[in-house]
């Protein structure tokens, strides 16, 4: 049975596991203190969302995440009137909730959202820091604790889904790449509970697939895929099979490429 979480309970109580690769935590804190919105860019599955969770834990602010999609309307973000028992009740959208409670609002994969929706965040993302709620005739001023974060994957090659300059140029941008071998091994070990040997090999495999980016693969294997594979291995699935279903197959449908990936897996495990 799924658990219903109320927004006020979005405060993360336990420390999420996150290993910094550079000075990103420091920069994020500086952005937070100076009220600069943050854009996280990088390939899928490299820890953008986890970083957001970690920072909201560290700064003790509630985190509201919205996964963007192309039917997301402005009222989905801001809020709408609903009728309850013959009366109209205003329900805040996630963005409004975050502004009211002084939390972090994280719009994941912002390019997926319709362009007219994206515009809603503009007045919030510059020095005005306001959220006009048209229907109520209100303008909310964001408290100093409020922070807007968005994420975006530059490797996504669709001309129809590009982030507009007017949006981009309101944010401080942190680039996320895959962590180095040692760090990534530690992450996979922690998340999956597998031993160093297996996790180390998975990371080597990931590096090899990343070498194939633009040489047949659109993107290399993400850390997330490695964690999946490691979990499957610890559940007793053979390493080769686990890598095949968790790493190779999700990456491509091309038979020749799958064959080459299978050879890579065999060579490493």
């Amino acid at each position: 049975m799924a658990k219903v979480i109320k927004t006020e309970e979005f405060i993360i109580r336990e420390e999420p596991f996150y290993l910094a690769t550079d000075r990103e935590t420091e920069i994020f804190e500086a952005a937070y203190r100076n009220r600069i919105p943050v854009l996280l860019k990088g390939p899928t599955g490299c820890g953008k969302t986890r970083f957001m969770q970690y920072m909201s834990w560290r700064l003790k602010r509630p985190l509201i995440t919205v996964s963007c999609h192309d039917d997301l309307t402005a009222s989905d973000l801001v809020g709408r009137y609903l009728v309850q028992g013959g009366e109209t009740v205003w329900i805040d959208g996630p963005l409004t909730k975050a502004v009211r409670t002084g939390g972090f609002c994280y719009l994941d994969e912002i390019v997926e959202a319709r362009k007219d929706t994206t515009v809603v965040i503009h007045p919030l993302a510059d020095d005005r820091r306001i959220l006009p709620i048209e229907k109520r005739g209100e303008v909310l001023e964001a408290p100093p604790e409020f922070l807007l974060g968005i994420s975006y994957n530059p490797g996504y090659q669709s001309v129809l889904k590009d982030l507009k300059q007017s949006t981009r140029q309101r944010f401080l941008a942190l680039e996320f790449t895959y962590p180095d071998r040692k760090l990534e091994t530690a992450i996979v070990m922690h998340e999956s509970g597998m031993d160093e040997e297996i996790c180390g090999r998975l990371v080597i495999l990931a590096e090899k697939t990343r070498n194939l980016k633009d040489r047949g693969l659109i993107e290399g294997a993400s850390t997330r895929l490695l964690i999946h594979a490691a979990k499957l291995i610890s559940a007793g699935i053979g390493a080769e099979k686990a890598c095949s279903v968790c790493v190779a197959e999700p990456l491509t449908d091309d038979h020749e490429m799958l064959e080459a990936l299978a050879e890579l897996i065999r060579s490493i495990f």
Binding site: R80, P154, Q157, S158, V159, K208, M257, L261, S267
Partner: protein, 752 residues
Amino acid sequence: MAGTGDKYSDEKYAGEFREDFIRNLRIDFFDDEEISAVLRDLDSLDSRIRQKVFALCHTLSHASSSLVPNALKRIKTASGLLPGRDLERWITHAYDILDRQGIGAFADYISGIDDEALRRFSTPEGLPLREIMAVLETYIRGISGRELKIAAARETYTDTSAIFLPAFVNRYEDRDRNYLIYKYCAALAWAQISQGTVTTDEDVLNRFLKEVPAEPDISAFFRMFPDERMAIDIFSILEAVRLETFLEKELPGLMREVKAVKRDFLNDRPLCPEQARKSAFVEGLYRLYLDGEPAEEFQNLTGDIPGDILMLKKNAGVEESMKLLGIMYDLAAGLAGDYQPVIFDPLLCTIRPQEVSLVLKAGRRARRQRLEGMITKLLNMPDFEQQKITLRRAGQQKLPESGKEYLLIKGRLIELDSEMREILQERGMSGGIIVKGADMGGAGSPMTLTDLMEEDEVIEESAGGVKYDEWDYKRGGYKKKWCTLREKNVHPGHDPFVEQTRKRYSGYIRVLRKRFELLRREPRLLRRQKDGDDFDLDAVIDAYSDSHAGLAPSEDLFMKYDRQQRSIAVLFLLDMSGSTKGWINEAEKESLVLMAEALETLGDRYAIFGFSGMKRSNCDFYRIKGFEEPYDGKVKRRISGISPKDYTRMGPPIRHSVKILKAVEERTRLFITLSDGRPEDYDAYKGDYAIEDTRRALTEAREQGIHPFCITIDREAGSYLRHMYGEVNYIVIDDVKKLPNRITEIYRRLTT
């Protein structure tokens, strides 16, 4: 082999048996010319089978010489079709038939067998390299992250740009283990490149070389040994041992599987007690590599050495191997007799210092030539007129940066990079001085070399055409109306290229149509519309709540499906330069046919243009299909008429395409270029200059709201691509044959 080998040793083949053979031929009325033809055929055979074939012919000549030329002919055909081991097997088989069933059966066997049957004779489970080449290349690229090529050769080695592997591996009956041998060989060669075996650091080399040549590489190192071959063999093995540790860390699975293979190879190797002492020494070392343990005899021969060899496995560098080679070489050189090169299995990646040296030198030479040309030109240029600086608009002027150094020569200030510095050190700087940017106090306007090279160029004016500016990165500004572009028509071709392509890809085209149809018919649900097929429940609820709350409810309460949502126009710009001749041109044309099929299904508007030319005054822009033209017989004939022309000056055609695209009204305007490598023209439009202009032209396109996307067919996709095209706006296709299939996918991805 052993039986015949004893009787027909090389000397006897040359001596008494040869006499006897010739005598037999004469008895059977062979004239001198025919005899010398037979002997020539025999001598031309591979030394491995020559004795055997000679023995066979000799035996035949006792019965009937007339069979000899025919048999030799068949053997020659067979040698072209069968790999060495199988050829030997085939000859042995024929010989057996001759021995056991007599001449009639032999004649039947040898003439009754056709080429197909011969091919089938080859080890059925053996694995030819060509079968796995494509996958292996991807494999090695994944492992190495480099553009290494795979090619066939007699033995395994690498020249640092390609990995050479045997054309055929049939040690095992099953494909998997033969494949494993290929993978291991390729991995070992990669380790040789990445761990400094063949790409040894100059510093390390200098510590060993007695005289340091201008460009030291490992060939200089091996030249220090009187018996170079022995030194190379010892070193190949030492490195194979050392690199095991590295490979075990990177590819543990492969190394685990390869252990058994090594043991099999070890068991295969015949013991040769008569081997010369030096060869026995190298053989012992090789066995140590295969076995992982020194054999007793080798231990006796070398004392503590095996321990030192095994120490190489403890994270040693190439330097340790080189030191140990010195010790081992001296030890081996002290043994009696000559060194007869040991035959290694394909498993060992040997070293070919000369080939490595050639590749490294060629790379250095190419770079050097380019730079020297620039410097010479610079020194020969007339003095620079100071007032030109003031003529430039302030906005375009670059200022010296304090961290950089500049060369001040003939009134010009030129940016110094490390390569230029090197050349200047060699040649001396007559008339120039080096100044630090910090000392310049922001005065002067630095430029780059290519900038200068163009200043003295004669301007060829030609009438007509459209003029385009060209970006000059040294100057930080445009050369106004620098290039002249003319639109031309492609001369229609008469071969039914389009029809043939459609036939060849008929299956794929069916799939393609379906896929693109899906794209078109994908029901796009538009919410909150003024009218439509159904209520938008969300909108109705919102409106209801709004009116309850006393707000004016919205009227946009419907949703509808829209199939005409796509508003995309795409322009394809095709590289028609001379370098596309052959496969690339074919593939480009095939791609156009497939793209046209897909786009006709989809309904996106499209145009196709090609470009080539020579010099800035002759940029040719070929029309294949305009936006307004239908895809009809005329267009198809033009596609078939596309043929390679001259050079690749990319800037002007890009700018012209942008102009055309700007005139269309579709919401999304896509611009796809198809080319095969660096932009380059006959004049100074080369290198950084050409890359910067292309990059600039693409940036201009983006600024005009056009989405450029570049497809490059380039096996050596250089790092410049990312700079030229920008991070997310290009794709490299390494194998031209994949282009037709890939391009439609790329388009699909770009527009969904």
